[in-house]
Point group: C2
Amino acid sequence: LRFAGVHLIVDLWGATRLDDPDHIDAVLREGALAAGATILHGHFHHFSPNGGVSGVLVLAESHISIHTWPERDYAAIDIFMCGECDPAKAIPAIKKGFQPERVQLAEHKRGLIG
Amino acid sequence: LRFAGVHLIVDLWGATRLDDPDHIDAVLREGALAAGATILHGHFHHFSPNGGVSGVLVLAESHISIHTWPERDYAAIDIFMCGECDPAKAIPAIKKGFQPERVQLAEHKRGLIG
């Protein structure tokens, strides 16, 4: 089957440093580069000091987004990549950066064209 | 069950105006507002004249992203919203804006905490 891209839904539980937008930016950039992606644009919003972060990297091969709830040690990430990039290769940087106790993954193949 | 947010995966087939970043930006903003969201940041990248667009709106309630393949009349959208927002309410604006022949939806509840 041919398809447009792979969309990984990544949930982190028991994770750390979820209130640090600079750290989050650096971790996702490392993950994007490890997956072979080209970063076009990044934006990370810190809701309050010590609060959650929402952010995204727009890639030449789609995007990585993150939304964090530091008060629950929970982060919701999604990684969508098309072309030759493998979003699974971004996972080790994410695990190293946030040290989650548990990672939940789901995969969607987007744009299947048979 | 309590959960952090609802993540809609939306695929459009037979869709129009997928090579127009200003139109795409306007359509997603209309959808975000219809869902009750607050827009914090937007970025839309046009890969080439008449080519695909990759973009995102960062919301106070998470994000909307889009990646388009005008040569296939295909677009991959995801809408993640937490709090009181209902991402399904963004769908009518998306249908009106892109006139897809077919819409494929999948839903993930993110951050289920039982």
